[in-house]
């Protein structure tokens, strides 16, 4: 069985799955239960300035009946700070092999930070995560995202914390910025030991069509909250890999704790491949309970075994070198779609997607004959409808290899994108711009170039 244990800037845990700083880590009682379920670590719900919460706090977006996004307006811990500190100490004592990390957020002055850092260190916690990401409630008070969005503040506070602390400092980044690399650089400059991202995304999750109220509805009002869950995963993967590839981060070899929509072991594996060396989870636990970690561990372990990989650490960042600019993609790489008639269920979703919105290169064929959609009005019944139904067939000479049909096909493995020789030497837009700049600037030159190398777009 593959070794799942990690060492994250000195913080050890038996597996890479940590509960993120959020409602699931609100109390010692909860985290005890979570550790019993198998979580490798937990980032305590942020402690710091005094707060009061509201109801309602959550809104969701559902697709086909399943929740794909969860939005919240809950603040940092509303339990008195000394209770949190006492429970952190108790949990760390009870679970010495698990990662216990305290998340903190206080006013932006050195004394406030010095005080809380001292208090956290006294608990025996393994590390500190600086919450620079909370997008609502705290940011209006000059904390959370208000810090994370200004690189200078981020650097300054990180430097204060480093000065007062002896345990690892993780800076948690907000995605609500235009260039996350600037935030990452500031954290590096401030002396962070590690980074974590993404925090939640600013969002208004919905409007109630009965009452016109926002969701969540707080006494008739609503506002932006923090968006999380499976829908944010692609955004998180992008931002995390961008941070991982930021030169200063690479040079400082800062590990990254990745989060944002990790619902299962496959999501986890993708985060690891794109540079995460620990993983944080919240929404999956909020929707289904702590038990979700069991299959995260089991699935990841089985997958590593199948791949013949001995340790989770071997796959960290393995796919990062594949991240490239558009300008470096090989313009001569060509694929075409092929539909396997044996597994095709004739739903025609590929046909309509291609014909309405792509390159009109899928035909409906009955034998060799191309037929139009539709049927004789007098036809009916199962046998007539199914026996005469045509199959979608790709006209490969016209297929641009867009991959849409493959994506919309409901049958796994039915449509494959097959690499075909383009007959052209590999080249990229960057090369083309350097070698034949006129082709990239003038349509007439582009037309001549296409004719010359044999690119025909109908």
């Amino acid at each position: 069985m593959a070794d799942l244990s990690i060492d994250f800037c000195g913080i050890k845990s038996p597996n890479p799955f940590w509960l993120a700083s959020a409602p699931p880590t609100n109390s010692g009682h909860q985290i005890h239960k979570a550790f019993e379920a198998g979580w490798g670590g937990a980032v305590w719900k942020t402690i710091g300035a005094p707060v009061l919460n509201v109801s309602n706090r959550y809104g969701t977006i559902k697709y086909n009946g399943q929740i794909i996004g969860l939005n919240n307006v809950e603040l940092i811990s509303d339990r008195p700070i000394e209770i949190n500190l006492r429970e952190i100490a108790e949990i760390k004592k009870l679970w010495p092999d698990r990662a216990v990390i305290a998340s903190a957020m206080v006013e932006s002055n050195p004394l406030a930070w010095k005080t809380i850092i001292q208090q956290i260190e006294d608990t025996g916690a393994d590390g500190i995560e600086l919450n620079y990401g909370c997008p609502h409630g705290m940011s209006e008070r000059g904390m959370g995202a208000a810090v994370g969005q200004v690189p200078e503040y981020c650097e300054q506070i990180t430097a204060w914390v480093r000065e007062y602390s002896s345990i690892p400092v993780i800076v948690k980044l907000t995605p609500n910025v235009t260039n996350i690399s600037a935030s990452a650089r500031a954290a590096v400059a401030g002396g962070a030991h590690a980074l974590s991202l993404i925090n939640t995304i600013n969002s208004i999750v919905g409007v109630n069509l009965e009452t016109f109220e926002l969701s969540p509805n707080i006494g008739g009002k609503g506002g932006h909250g923090g968006y999380a869950g499976p829908a944010v995963k692609p955004i998180a993967l992008h931002l995390m890999s961008q941070v991982a590839l930021t030169e200063e981060v690479m040079r400082a070899k800062l590990p990254i704790s990745g989060m944002g929509g990790i619902m299962n072991w496959q999501d986890a594996a993708e985060f690891l491949l794109l540079g995460a060396s620990s993983l944080q989870v919240c929404t999956a636990a909020m929707l289904y309970g702590y038990r979700v970690v069991e299959d995260m561990i089991d699935g990841l372990s089985n997958w590593l075994d199948e791949k013949g990989i001995g340790s989770v650490n071997e796959i960290i960042g393995k796919s990062l070198p594949r991240i490239s600019d558009f300008g470096d993609f090989d313009l001569s790489f060509k694929t075409v779609a092929r539909v396997n008639p044996d597994s095709c269920i004739q739903c025609n979703l590929c046909y309509i997607a291609c014909n309405d919105t792509e390159h009109q290169c899928i035909d409906l064929k009955r034998g060799e004959e191309v037929v139009m959609p539709g049927f004789d009005e007098r036809d009916n019944g199962r046998i007539q409808a199914t026996s005469s139904r045509p199959f979608p067939v790709v006209r490969e000479s016209d297929c641009v290899g867009c991959d849409l049909c493959h994506n919309v096909c409901p049958v796994t493995g039915c449509i494959t994108m097959v690499e075909v020789p383009s007959g052209r030497a590999p080249t990229t837009w960057r090369q083309l711009s350097a070698e034949r700049p006129e082709v990239t600037q003038d349509w007439e030159a582009m037309k001549r170039y296409r004719a010359e190398v044999g690119i025909d777009i109908h």
Binding site: N64, G65, I345, Q346, C347, N348, L349, Y351, I352, L364, P373, G374, F375, E377, R378, D379, N380, G381, R382, Q384, A385, T386, R389, P410
Partner: protein
């Protein structure tokens, strides 16, 4: 006077036995099922539906909680969508063609359709308005599914439609002939009301040829649509068929639709002659009324049955027994039925229907003891109307063209009176009515154009 006893079951258990077999889908169930639909393009379910309802279209509207819009999509193609949702042989039509059927479970299209159409029936929503009056008048003879469908389509187009119905209630077989646990009477009557709210004038208790002459109809109206269905079960032609306890299957079903279950006579041991859908319906009703044993007697074998396979399976689950290759030769008894004498049969060479001809095995007679015999061996055709109008017929069915016009211009026909048994179903009748309405409309408009010239 000698009568058969009525059911020994309590009123409550009878009520329970005649509840709809499939319960209505809850909003949650409908949403989950609707979300399973792949939204196929040029979908095979739509192709398979004789009325070609845009099925993925209406299902996606359920998924998006636009139930009214969903019902509109259904009723646009099939005004009797609520009946069809219940009685269609979906395995042979839409659901049988569902692309998910090959390696998974087809979408429950019938039940989803019922979910949407019941919504508008219960709320009495009118989703269609008649177009401005064209001044044209059409008479429809027979208020069954074909007639109602034709009338609704014509009314939507602005024509004045009168339906003449012989029975006290409109709805045809939906009202009188579909077993209650497949379709309650109220559903059929709610559809009738929806047709009436479009401005269609339905006159019940009117027999054409008795209360009103055919000639007056052809002269008073711009077009005629015949949807007269079929008649009673033909006589068995065997000794003893007039004994007390021998009943007509169609009448037996009708009683359960119009009378209190506790007042309907039913035997303890029942034999049903025939193996079509009506025979199975009569058999299941007898069982649910409390018959201890119900035996279906059919002169051919299981593979020649005309009943739908799902009906056959349903009957088996209901505890109904089958005697195949058995042909009744006499009903035994003095005043009332005591048994059904049959002769054993074997299958010979194919007959004109292509099915092997059953032949009697000499000296193989046997008696099935019973106190009730239900005859469901098909229905007679209403030949007289066709004859009076001098319409071309084939095997007793009225012959029509692609527009459902009969051999006589201006007279159209549809439903069971044009359709050879086996092909006949409510949904086919609805489509017949639709096609005829289109033909009538085109013909009358042509008349209007030439009149304006």
């Amino acid at each position: 006077m000698l009568t058969l006893p009525t059911s020994a079951l309590s009123a409550e258990s009878l009520e329970q036995n005649f509840q709809e077999v499939l319960p209505a889908l809850s909003k949650r169930e409908a949403s989950i099922e609707a979300n399973r639909c792949l939204f196929c393009y040029d979908a095979p379910c739509t192709h398979a539906c004789p009325t070609h309802i845009d099925i993925p279209g209406f299902i996606k509207k359920i998924a998006r909680d636009n139930v009214k819009g969903s019902a509109r999509v259904i009723l646009e193609s099939n005004f009797l969508g609520s009946t069809c949702a219940r009685v269609c042989p979906v395995e042979e039509l839409c659901e049988g063609a569902c692309v998910l059927g090959s390696d998974h479970k087809p979408i429950e299209i019938g039940r989803l359709q019922r979910y949407s159409t019941d919504f508008v029936l219960e709320k009495k929503l009118d989703l269609f308005k008649p177009a401005p009056s064209t001044g044209k008048k059409v008479v429809v003879i027979g208020a069954g599914p074909a007639g109602l469908s034709c009338a609704a389509e014509l009314a939507k187009l602005g024509h004045a439609v009168t339906i003449l119905e012989r029975k006290p209630l409109a709805g045809g077989l939906s009202t009188y002939g579909i077993v209650v646990f497949r379709e309650p009477v109220q559903v059929s009557l709610a559809e009738v009301e929806m047709v009436e709210r479009l401005g269609v004038n339905i006159k019940t208790g009117v027999t054409v040829g008795v209360d009103v002459t055919l000639e007056s109809l052809t002269s008073d109206y711009d077009a005629v649509f015949l949807s007269v269905g079929l008649g009673t079960v033909p006589s068995l032609g065997i000794p003893g068929e007039n004994l007390l306890g021998v009943v007509d299957g169609i009448k037996f079903i009708e009683d359960t639709k119009t009378q209190a279950y506790s007042s309907i006579p039913v035997g303890k041991h029942v034999c049903v002659i025939g193996a079509g859908n009506t025979a199975i319906d009569a058999a299941t009703i007898a069982r649910r009324l409390g018959a201890e044993s119900v035996t279906m007697v059919y002169r051919r074998s299981a593979s020649e049955m005309t009943a739908y396979n799902f009906e056959f399976e349903f009957a088996k689950k209901e505890g109904i027994e089958y005697r195949f290759l058995s042909n009744p030769v006499a009903v035994r008894g003095t005043d009332s039925v005591t048994g059904l004498e049959c002769v054993k049969m074997r299958l010979g060479a194919p007959d004109s229907s292509g099915r092997p001809r059953p032949e009697a095995i000499p000296d193989s007679n046997f008696v099935l003891e019973c106190d009730m015999v239900i005859s469901a061996i098909g229905q007679e055709k209403h030949q007289s109307l066709a004859q009076q109008l001098n319409l071309e017929t084939k095997n007793g069915y009225i012959v029509t063209d692609a527009h459902n016009q009969t051999s006589r211009p201006g007279i159209y026909a549809g439903g069971d009176c044009v359709r050879v048994t086996g092909d006949a179903s409510t949904v086919m009748a609805v489509q017949d009515g639709k096609i005829a309405a289109r033909g009538i409309h085109a013909q009358m408009l042509e008349g209007m154009v030439s009149a304006n010239d």
